[in-house]
Amino acid sequence: MNVKFLTLAVAASLAAPLPSFAERASDGEVRIIYWQAPSILNPFLSGGTKDLESASLVLEPLGRYDQDGNMVAWLAQSIPTVENGGVSEDLTTITWKLKDGILWSDGTSVSSHDVKFTADYCMHPEGGCSQLSNFDDVASVDVIDDLTVKVTFGVPKPFPYGPFMGSTSPIIQRAQFENCMGAKAPECTEANFNPIGTGPFRVTEFRPNDVISMEANPNYRDPSKPAFASLVFKGGGDATAAGRSVLETGEFDYAWNLQLAPDVLANMEAAGKGTVVSAFGTLVERIMVNLTNPDPALGDERSTAAHPHPFLTDINVRKALSMAIDRELLVEIGYGVAGRPTCNILPAPPIYASNANDACLIHDIEGANNSLDEAGWMPGPDGIRQRDGVRISILYQTSTNAVRQDFQALIKQWWSEIGVETELRNIDASVFFGGDPGSPDTYQKFYADLEMYANNFDGTDPEVYMGNWKCDESPSPDTQWQGANMPRYCDPEYEALLDEMSKTGDLNERARLAKAMNDMLMQNFIMIPLVDRGRVSAHSNSLGGVVLNTWDSELWNAADWHRID
């Protein structure tokens, strides 16, 4: 199914005619539907994908990631590297040079002052900027001349592409946002709804949580683009309705993120009005293993490093749980073209993907049983395995979501075949991911033995992501339950690798280290990866130029979109 689909998708993209050198605004209107409606067009005040992607039609960064995760210069002349002298030898500065003659949509020219202002805007302590982590360790941003800006970091930054790269860190106009710094940021409704940008389109009307009307930017740097004179960005409804409007009724040209049951999507596509496209990024649906004891009797020390887990600290148990899962079947039932089985927590980009753990793809109940037998976990009178009075009885929690509940039911069945008792629990997503330290049901508190959710990382560099499993990232009462190390995993060897990575600038060497860390986590079964979840979108057959990109905004190349007759 997957292979067939991908071949079709590739064939479709090859069959599309090369972009004709049409004039700007010659192709009428393009209509996009996102089933989550954009609330604001200032990406620094909202982290939601819907907001970032709608804003990416207007606001652009200095550099973007293409569909393969490679960096491409966008507003900059080139991507600065150590080789071309853009990044200093000691890895503490990066110097960006803007392309000459770029104009804002209001006709004024873009200068390095705007770039510096963008950094100041986001780094303002009272602004509540949601993209602040892109500016981690930035000591200063200095204007060298009108087109050159130098970012200095407080520490050596082997991957200095946080600021001004990708859809999460675009450049905003200083003249427009000058009076919107810090606590004033939310009050600038006009600027937040109608940002002036350099992108192919500019906003004519913004209706929050409803619809955005845009028109071609008359000052866009390529005089022949965009091909469309206007753009309608409708939001709201649900994924089914969005898919239907592109694939079945043809009212819209592009529908985003169609997380639908595989058969529903196939039926819609059969109507023949549009094409489903998919691409894979780093989003992995995984089961986190709690290495600490969540027993309610422990009170405040529940799920903290003070008390090791009674049976999940045994690697044989963790291994058996992983072996008993049929990942192929999970993909088939839950995701179809939008998923593929994975044995890695770091599945992409290609240079970081390890293939040392692929054994997990085999569904092996017998092997799992053997592994438990050898470790001395023997079935008790009720058929549940136990050792020294400890029964393997698991509380397995996740957020409320139809696919996740299907997964839970299937996995519970497989585990029952290896003598493991499973109690299932699901929690409303806004509570589970809410991070409220007062709630016992958050994914950070992890008052369960196992929990399942999906996570990924921004951009293409996995250093921060791999840093999630540092010992001091473990959530605990001392950290107000903040931190991303859900398994409470602590291994000095792992941290040594991480430390080495933070001092290494060479990309291939970084890839080796990242793979080694991934293998370490996987071979110790600290987490049980299930499905590599891709992005599925759909476009009408008359819309050309769509290149689905999971490393940046999906609408990253909207300037190249055009109408096919």
Binding site: I40, L132, R207, N209, S245, E251, S430
Partner: protein
């Protein structure tokens, strides 16, 4: 009657204040977090800063008082400035939505047209259909007309709008291609073709909601007519030799309308509340959709303001229903 109205209005003030407090406490004490919908890639310390910038660092009573001031002082002052150009507010903070970082009231005003078009029209059409059906059904009780009317209203009442809505979309948008499945809120009626388009895009959502409304009201109408038709005064009227038309439409109908008018008046606030499900199904993006997205995003100022405005409408229309009662039925006197 006048004194009664004044008294009720004055009594409404503490009632509404109490409602606003309960709403605020309910929303605030319910689990949930405005940053929960943000991607997991945003680190928790950044989320914490976002929460502080939304004012969540303040204690609960400060936030409640702040909302009271924003809603009852700053918003009216702003409205005054808009109308008369006399700015007394001095740029004081209005009620700001957490999702959009823009004034809640502006968004509500922006959403009003589509909700009034769709939900309001369906209410009017629903009432217009329901009254004759109710009257005839009662007059010819157990006739084939009554049986069909009962069947249709049972269907309309028991089949949920998310089913009828999607069914209509599949038939009329996907199969036949007559009507758009997605409502265009930016559409402006300027000439004949654009009016036709407006009718087309209203057709399905209005039909779905009108069926639902008509089903409810026609049952009330029928029941109320049946109550009156067996009364002694009807027999007397007939014995006096009054025409059947006069008996039915003047005497019985007027008496039967008393409870029905109350039901209709009490239903008006729901028009402003929007129709959450139908709006989602047809992407009308009116007040109902605004409320549900705000709830999902834990946008407390938005939810608080919207639900409070609904509360005001409900209190006012309750009063209106009571006054109508007095006008329709001379036996009822409040003073």
């Amino acid at each position: 009657m006048f004194h009664y109205t004044i008294r009720r209005l004055l009594l409404a003030i503490p009632t509404l204040l109490f409602i606003s407090l309960i709403l605020f406490l309910l929303l605030d004490l319910a689990p949930g977090d405005p940053t929960a919908q943000l991607p997991l890639t945003i680190p928790p310390e950044v989320k914490e800063k976002i929460r502080l910038s939304l004012g969540l660092g303040e204690p609960i009573y400060i936030r409640y008082l702040l909302w009271l001031q924003q809603f009852f002082v700053n918003e009216p002052l702003h409205l005054l400035a808009e109308i008369t150009n006399i700015d007394l507010s001095g740029g004081a903070q209005r009620v700001i939505s957490w999702q959009t970082r823009s004034p809640v009231v502006d968004i509500v005003v922006q959403r009003m047209p589509q909700t009034l078009w769709v939900v309001g029209l369906s209410y009017v059409i629903g009432v217009l259909i329901a009254l004759p059906i109710g009257i005839i059904s009662a007059y010819r009780q157990y006739s084939w007309f009554d049986q069909i009317g009962t069947f249709v209203s049972m269907v309309g009442f028991s089949v949920p709008t998310f089913f009828t809505g999607v069914l209509l979309i599949v038939i009329f948008s996907v199969q036949l291609g007559w009507f758009p499945s997605i409502y265009d809120t930016t559409h402006r009626v300027e000439d004949w073709p654009s009016f036709l388009f407006q009718v087309k895009q209203l057709a399905m959502p209005v039909a779905v909601l009108a069926l639902f409304n008509a089903a409810q009201i026609s049952r009330f109408m029928r029941a109320s007519m049946l109550d009156n038709l067996n009364q002694d005064y009807v027999r007397t009227a007939r014995a006096k030799g009054l025409a059947e038309r006069v008996v039915l439409l003047v005497h019985v109908l007027r008496n039967s309308m008393i409870p029905v008018v109350t039901v209709i008046a009490l239903g008006v606030p729901t028009v402003f509340g929007g129709a959450i499900i139908t709006e989602q199904v047809f992407k009308v993006n009116g007040l109902g959709q605004l409320l549900i997205t705000a709830i999902q995003a834990n946008d407390i100022p938005m939810v608080q303001t919207l639900t409070f405005m609904f509360a005001v409408l409900i209190v006012l229309f309750n009063l209106a229903a009571d006054i109508l009662y007095g006008i329709l039925d001379p036996r009822i006197r409040y003073d």
